[in-house]
Symmetry: C2
Subunit: 397 residues, 2 copies
């Protein structure tokens, strides 16, 4: 299958590109290296020594004989470049990772909020526009987030896969319908994915585009069978307060003996998935497109739910590194429960990688190996969700 991977140089995009290539697909990466530029902006590099994309691709070719193509295109700003690449490459599937994907980064300042909205929405809309023009039969596989559902309104409901049965009531009349789960995003970043959902819904309805939206949990781990083949194929490992995902931060902190930093009481229950399951899910989704005219297919790409404090306690118990509670920079419930439907990807053949499968130790080993590259000053999140009111700001001055 001819597959384009937009954002194929990133944390999820790179191992996905390798996995798709290993499975025999004809893969081309499109990327603008925005994530590497953000490393420079934040002064926080990947813990693992990731290679430039050219070296990555050469190594893959040398090791496997397989070619992964590359086009340097800014999907959000270079529409002509994007449309030209689609027309030339005639993809059967397009995997869309080309969005700013960190909630704390999206909350740092007006500039970061605006960049996240501008980049993510224009990237998605440009892609949809270009597909209508040149490849309306291609299958778009988008990486969404479990965060579109929110964690405040569930009231004991299982989080369904995108759509939920509802009885609507107005003016004395009732109607039974199935609707998109009412979104309740907790950051600017998560909000952009709720906007994406409406873009997808519109283009599927008006233009008949075939779209799968994968609402992914928090990714942990860094290695896949393909990235393990050679150090030149190594994947990113973000540990900083902006891009480091919570479990990976704990594992990295454990590796260097830094206290495990829990925001608030750690009662937040979240959905998780290992990176090696991410790459499998994307292939399972890409190769099973919905039919033209179908509504957007939404699948929950996660394998298990845990409370943050339970993860910290587990890693602490394994390693002896203590837990430290910090003020929570996010505006979110201190405690929530979460039950998630994920029958879709299990039905397509996913066999979940569990936290209990020994991979926690494997990740700590990776973190220990590159511990000398860690800058401990980058570990703590410095973004805050709510700006003090001007009256409070004045009083503080």
């Amino acid at each position: 299958m001819r597959i384009l991977v937009l954002g194929g140089d990133g944390f999820c995009g790179w191992p996905t590109s390798l996995h798709l290539s290993a499975r025999g697909h004809d893969v081309t990466i499109i990327d603008n290296f925005a994530r590497r530029e953000t490393d420079v902006e934040l002064g926080a590099e990947s813990l693992t020594p990731i290679r430039l994309l050219d070296e990555r691709l050469d190594a893959w070719k040398g090791l496997t004989g397989r070619t992964i193509g590359f086009r340097h295109v800014d999907v959000a700003r270079d529409y002509e470049g994007l449309e030209g690449a689609l027309a030339e490459l005639r993809p059967e599937a397009i995997v869309h990772f080309a969005e700013q994907r960190a909630a704390p980064y999206s909350m740092k300042s007006p500039r970061h909020k605006r960049y996240t909205v501008d980049n993510n929405i224009n990237a998605t809309n440009n892609l949809l526009c270009a597909m209508v023009e040149v490849c309306p039969d291609a299958h778009l596989v988008h990486l969404g987030t479990m965060g579109v559902y929110g964690y405040g309104k569930a009231r004991g409901l299982m989080i369904p896969e995108g759509y939920i049965g509802a009885t609507l009531r107005s003016g004395g009349v009732e109607a039974d319908v199935e609707i998109l789960y009412p979104p309740d995003p907790g950051s600017i970043y998560h909000m952009t994915k709720t906007l994406d959902q409406l873009l997808f819904q519109y283009y599927a309805k008006n233009d008949g585009l075939r779209i799968t939206d994968l609402h992914q949990g928090i990714v942990w781990g860094t290695s896949t069978p393909e990235t393990d083949l050679d150090e030149r194929l190594i994947n990113r490992f973000d540990y900083d307060g902006d891009y480091g995902t919570v479990l990976n931060r704990f594992l990295m902190q454990a590796a260097i003996g830094h206290p495990l930093t829990v925001h608030g009481v750690g009662g937040q229950t979240r959905a998780f998935i290992h990176i090696r399951d991410t790459v499998r899910c994307v292939e399972l989704a890409a190769t099973t497109p919905p039919r033209r005219g179908d509504r957007v297919r939404i699948l929950n790409q996660m394998t298990e739910c845990h409370k943050v404090r339970d993860l910290a306690a587990m890693v602490s118990g394994m390693t002896g590194v203590p837990v430290e509670h910090l003020p929570n920079p996010r505006k979110e419930a201190a405690e929530n429960e979460l039950v998630v439907q994920n029958a879709g990807l299990l039905g397509l053949g996913l066999t979940p990688t569990r936290l209990s499968d020994g991979l926690l130790h494997e990740v700590i080993a990776v973190a220990q190996r590159y511990a000398d590259r860690c800058d401990p000053s980058r570990i703590v999140c410095t973004s805050t969700w709510v700006k003090p009111h001007p009256a409070a700001r004045q009083a503080a001055e």
Copy 2:
């Protein structure tokens, strides 16, 4: 009250600015003249000879002694200019008309789709960002559209004001909640207003911004008591296939003896409001802000519903001009019913202007007065909603 009107040079923005000034508010217009530039792009001027904004403002000052301020800022692209204007002017209310507002224009080409999404979403997000930074207590009054509700899923439900009671069902559990009415936009333009809704919901929740979203029906008429004071204050009258709203197009067609162009069978039922009610509604909303911490207040800004073919028959009956049915360029139901809740603005004091109030004749009189400025070649809509599939395109070549 200090009020900013973003997009205050446009079809709704200009008479709103005059009305607010006449009511004693301290009004400043922010505009980038995008709508006038679009006239040039489309080669379709306002039927009425609108004056440059400087002349408009001078005339208003001369006639009434009241000053309306002006800042030339592109809200979607000049964040610093916008934030600076807010910091300097310290508005208590901000009326946000600064969006591309024509559905047919938004469907003309990939460039028009992309401009509409990019402009509308960045304008709204920039404004919300800047409010958080410099005037978090100001009240944002946004012009939404009845089109966010869609016309396909109602199933006999009255369209509520934004929120609808719902019983959600998942995993054997039920929850009674009030949710944003599930959106179902019918064009790229209407879709941008559904994205705006999610932006508002997010910023109201995270930052406590006070926001009113006015879901407006199709505006008809052109004159208000203030624009009638002097020809230099005259308002736009769009009659072209992109920007002309349906009833105004019929009235203008009647004035010049052009057949009344109905798309399809004309069974579309839509909500309408006269421009003089628009300006009153905006003042009623602006002066009654929700409290900080409230959810977004949503009001339906419309006064009556009609089927398109009934409007055409009414205008034809008044004038003897025949009705002509054209293929419908839109992807929409041929027939729909529509019942809309609008108790909110009525409760605030709106006395509706009805189609039966003689204003149909007044509008025809305006159109007849400027009939020599009409370019009949611009009357018919040339946008189409759906691009033929490549296979069909090839077959046609």
